[in-house]
Amino acid sequence: MDLKTKALIKSLWVFHAATSPCNNCDIEVLDLLTPRHDVERFGIILVGSVRHADVLLVTGVPNYKTAERIKKLYEQAPKPCFVVAIGNCACGRIMFQDSYNSPCPVDEIIPVHLYVPGCPPKPEAMIAGVVKLLEKLSGK
């Protein structure tokens, strides 16, 4: 494991990209970033600009308007950038499969590296998912 991957594992900067969610998953993501769960000990900080981001936290079902925007957001993030789909809606649009306003699930627009199911997933589930992502990164 070279120095680049080691540094990337120890310092993941997170950007919150919501594609029309019901905001429950967003509240849980905000919960994750509060002092109670303390993700800063893993080096995870919330950044304001997508150009500083290493991880895109995608929530919600993409509709026609946000599908083009999430694609542009993904292209604006400097690679290597990982996409985490948080919540049932971002993983597979469970209830909203036949919706009139949703063209496709998130992983048909941008490549997704980690799925965290739940409605909404608990912050502990998100941390477990992040640990799995870091293990996958360090193992490869």
Partner: protein
């Protein structure tokens, strides 16, 4: 603190089709579609009720539109109900010239249910994309 319900009943005595009081704080008053702008003017300008939102749904009796107004000092919610029976070409006069804040909810009512709002200043798509196919209204319950 005034008796808004009494004043509405007194002014629109002939025009109210049905007055339903689910609880002292939740009142539904039914009007015909052509009487709505006058009633809205009275509630908004003279009684100074706060316009909360408007909702619309496709029912077997016609397209039902509800305008919700709130009397904050007593915590009362007054809803004006109206049924548009012509489902082929539904239309109603827009209240956006009276209440500026109703512009966006009326745009949503038009794009989702196809209600033609007469006199609306800016009838464009709000939530759906701009090149949504014409004549396709997602929340209509057609078989």
């Amino acid at each position: 603190m005034e008796d808004v319900l009494g004043r509405i009943r007194e002014k629109f005595y002939e025009q109210i089709i049905k007055y339903e009081e689910k609880s002292p704080r939740r009142v539904y008053i039914e009007f015909a579609p052509q009487n709505i702008p006058e009633a809205v003017k009275f509630l908004f300008r003279d009684l100074n009720l706060r316009f909360a939102t408007a909702t619309a749904i496709d029912t077997p009796l016609g397209i039902e539109i509800l305008y919700h107004f709130s009397y904050d000092p007593k915590g009362q919610m007054v809803s004006l109900r109206t049924f548009i029976t012509d489902k082929k070409h539904p239309q109603i006069e827009s209240i956006a010239p009276i209440i500026k804040g109703a512009e966006w909810i009326e745009r949503e009512m038009w794009e989702m249910l196809g209600i033609n709002l007469i006199g609306h200043p800016n009838l464009k798509h709000l939530l759906l994309i701009d090149d949504w196919p014409e004549g396709k209204f997602p929340l209509r319950k057609e078989k």
